[in-house]
């Protein structure tokens, strides 16, 4: 469904050039949950941002259903692909109520039945109607991230890009949000592309994953490979070893 071929992203500021992503390819099937793992700075978030047009692609192709995406992205792209950001404290406008956050995409894409859709979206992410007119500062981190998920889902997309959606949350809240994401995927047949540095989270959520290092794809693994710790490259083995404590608890 989603095809990324030889993607390169280069950021330039003045004479400095940073090649954040250097030729990454991946294919995500419909209904699949695909993980991207790597250390900080390995370019994994940049891949997501390039897919949705927030980072400039300097080379390579991004295809949705076999069709090359136009830059800048067309409005119908945003109805099919949405993103949830890492930090729920930064991804909600501090002066907008939950209601304003959720009505905006509906207004942009001229959806009907807005009140009902907002109510549905709130209950889908496990927030009551009492949250509808609150400001972000009246919400906890987990509640904010639920609002961010609701915002991403309200346009009824098919693909959800998740950029470390739980790394800014407490351990107990992490599990809640991950379960929520799991349930939503099962209910709506969504396709996920999830970025994380936490192998436990990825092995819980994703069927296949890609390991990235310094902007390069190191190798692609299945969930079974990960659980049996069958890693082909030394880098992935190191990564597995580093997170061993977590893996044992999670599996």
């Amino acid at each position: 469904m989603l095809d990324v071929r030889d993607l390169e992203v280069t950021f330039t500021s003045g004479a400095d050039e940073v090649r954040a992503v250097r030729g990454v390819s991946l294919t995500v099937q419909k209904g699949e949950s695909y993980g991207i793992v790597g250390e900080s700075g390995s370019g994994k978030s940049t891949v997501l941002r390039a897919i949705c047009g927030l980072a400039p692609t300097s080379a390579g192709h991004i295809l949705l259903d076999g069709k090359e995406l136009a830059t800048p992205r067309r409005p119908d792209f945003y109805r099919r692909v949405q993103m949830v950001f890492q930090d729920p404290y930064a991804s909600l406008h501090p002066r907008h109520t939950v209601d304003a956050v959720l009505s905006e995409p509906l207004a942009i894409h001229r959806f009907d039945r807005r009140d009902e859709r907002i109510a549905e979206a709130l209950s889908a992410v496990g927030l009551g109607q009492g949250f509808r007119f609150r400001y972000p500062h009246q919400l906890s981190g987990g509640q904010r991230q639920r609002v961010a998920v609701a915002r991403a889902l309200i346009l009824e997309p098919q693909i959800l890009l998740l950029d470390e959606p739980t790394s800014a949350l407490d351990a107990s809240i992490q599990a809640e949000v991950l379960n929520l994401l799991d349930r939503l995927r099962a209910e709506r047949g969504l396709t996920y592309v999830m970025v994380s540095h936490d192998l436990a989270v990825i092995s819980h959520m994703c069927e296949r994953l890609m390991v990235m290092e310094h902007g390069l794809a190191v190798e692609e693994l299945t969930r079974d490979d990960l659980r049996q710790r069958r890693a082909g490259t030394p880098y992935t083995q190191r990564l597995l070893k580093a997170s061993a404590g977590y893996t044992r608890e999670a599996t």
Binding site: G53, A90, H137
Partner: protein
């Protein structure tokens, strides 16, 4: 449920309640600041006096009696603040003059603030050559000394209160543009702007609905603090004979009129001077108080 509980509820049930509750919290913060409340009181009094001028003024502000009431000192019978060289009651002239002062301030704000906000947020949001063009233009306007440019402008268009307002507005917007641009630069790369872009929002919507509300508070603070300067500039133009024309009771022009007898009849120039001083002080205190409650760096 009392109104207070309704306003402070953590579970508002409508857009209106959420918005009113937010304003009420800001008001509660503001109320704790004594000096700011004093400033607000001064500004409110100015507004009320301007509205009710015809009923408050004891005498005609434009026509005096040259035979009996010329240059009476303060506290004379029927003339609390004395009279000027044409026998006009100074208190009445101050009361009517508050209308001119308020009109100048209001019009300058209405003209200069939107221009500054628009230029600043546009430059900051788009960056690149848009930013370069807009900000260099702002720098050019900013490089002119305020009063001198206003003087040149009034000299070209002819003296009068309307032209003074236009002249002050033209020189007042660049600081707001710079402020709005600086705020926009810190906002434009944040995740919530990226999230809005991902919903397919166009730049106009992002600037208007997401960037401007966050720039608003610092601009409001700056505008309130600038009010004193605007009043002084208007009074300065009046003093030089380029603002309000006689016999209009403009405070700056009144000081100019009293200049000739400053030593023997001090009150003619002093009373409007005091009025300018008190109103400027009121706006400054109000601005300081607003900064304390609205400053985005203090609350998110």
């Amino acid at each position: 449920m009392t109104t207070r509980e309704w306003l402070l509820s953590d579970n508002p049930v409508s857009r209106r309640q959420a918005r009113l509750g937010q304003s009420y919290r800001t008001w509660l913060d503001f109320r704790r600041n004594g000096l700011a409340m004093f400033g607000l009181a001064i500004v409110l009094v100015l507004v009320l006096v301007a509205i009710f001028a015809p009923w408050l003024a004891p005498h005609d502000p434009l026509i005096g009696d040259l035979r009996t009431t010329r240059l009476l000192p303060p506290l004379s019978e029927g003339h609390l603040l004395g009279t000027d060289d044409q026998g006009r009651d100074i208190l009445s002239r101050l009361i009517w003059g508050s209308r001119i002062t308020l009109a100048v301030v209001a019009l300058v704000v209405v003209i200069a603030t939107p221009v500054g906000l628009l230029v600043g947020t546009t430059a900051g949001y788009f960056g690149g050559w848009v930013d370069t063009v807009l900000m260099r233009f702002t720098d050019v306007v900013l490089a002119f000394p305020k009063l001198i440019l206003a003087l040149a402008f009034v000299a070209a268009l002819g003296p009068g209160i309307e032209n003074a307002i236009i002249a002050i507005s033209i020189t007042a917007w660049p600081p707001y543009a710079r402020l709005a641009r600086a705020e926009t630069l810190t906002i434009r790369n944040s995740d919530f702007i990226a999230a809005t872009k991902l919903q397919g929002a166009r730049p106009a919507r992002i600037i208007w609905k997401h960037v401007v509300p966050l720039c608003m508070s610092s601009v409001i603070i700056r505008v309130t603090l600038d009010m004193a300067g605007i009043i002084l500039t208007a009074a300065g133009l009046g003093f030089l004979g380029l603002g309000a024309q006689p016999p209009q009771p403009e405070w700056g022009a009144m000081i100019a009129g009293g200049r000739n007898f400053l030593v023997d009849q001090w009150w003619v120039a002093t009373m409007p001077g005091l009025a300018i001083f008190i109103v400027s002080l009121g706006f400054n205190l109000l601005g300081d108080g607003l900064r304390d409650v609205l400053d985005p760096r203090r609350r998110t």
